[in-house]
Subunit: 169 residues, 2 copies
């Protein structure tokens, strides 16, 4: 009887070893994979007054007269957003991570998320930024830059942000 008990205790010990060695290890691997490298570097923290909250910019293509474009990767922490602004040559946003908002003046804010393409017409006042509880990462492609760079306007205040999101589409 004691021999059988020893066998069972041995089997029990083996099963615990399997749980710790074979099972917990893949779980930690899993955690590593969930924290995947971003597509493009986060770049530098934006320190100018054209943004509210914490946002990061990595330029991918600097403006020149050959390509007539500038392309930047922008990371917004939750609640971070641009000021109201407009682009004389138009801009396209390709959302690569997270969730946020895009709003044209006089229209309700639209929810945007990973995989969305946003076309911002020339000379159209608008803002974009992260949701209250999500970061937002997008590639911003400024087009026809021979028509001029972004024209920056007033900030989207905290009260305005909260109100606009409440009235979103």
């Amino acid at each position: 009887m004691m021999g059988m008990l020893k066998s069972i205790l041995f089997a029990f010990a083996i099963s615990i070893t399997l749980i710790i060695g074979g099972c917990w290890h893949p779980l930690s691997e899993n955690a590593k994979e969930q924290k995947a490298e971003p597509l493009f570097p986060k770049g530098d923290k934006i320190t100018n007054n054209n943004f509210s909250g914490t946002a990061w910019l990595q330029m991918l293509v600097l403006n020149d007269s050959t390509y007539n474009t500038s392309i930047g990767n922008v990371t917004f922490e939750p609640r971070a957003r641009t000021n109201w602004h407009k682009h004389p040559g138009g801009q396209i946003l390709l959302v690569t991570e997270g969730k946020g908002y895009y709003q044209e003046k006089g229209k309700p804010a639209q929810r945007i998320q990973k995989g969305d393409v946003v076309k911002i017409p020339p000379d159209t006042e608008h803002w974009h930024g992260a949701a209250p509880d999500n970061e937002l990462v997008h590639i911003a492609i400024s087009l026809n830059t021979d028509k001029g760079g972004a024209i920056w306007l007033q900030p989207v205040t905290d009260e305005e942000y909260d109100q606009l999101i409440k009235n979103r589409n």
Copy 2:
């Protein structure tokens, strides 16, 4: 003694249940996460003669006179590539997945991979495509399209592809 044996058997059964219920489940979750959704849809298989091998195109922005650009998401299966071609207004590639090659006529092929930005000057003969053993996914941003669309030239033959890659940078 038999009571203790029952307790041990019960504990053993519980541990097996934990292995199956609590451990195998995260492993299959893990497998699902590894096969992550692509950033943009793969779109339609390209059936024209401007490509060799199997490639897919999802248009993100159709060309028009407002934005003066067209943006497409291109997925190349291993060995798939464009013909030689050129863009009157230039093109930018943003590589979002995999590994491949970019080559300008008269220069060695360059390896490109996820996170790379490729600037293709206007009127410059070139090709791009996947590595022999990797797929390649890139966003292709055609600029200044008022200067005209892509001018398609001769295919990159299998012999040329193998030779160009052997002589790569």
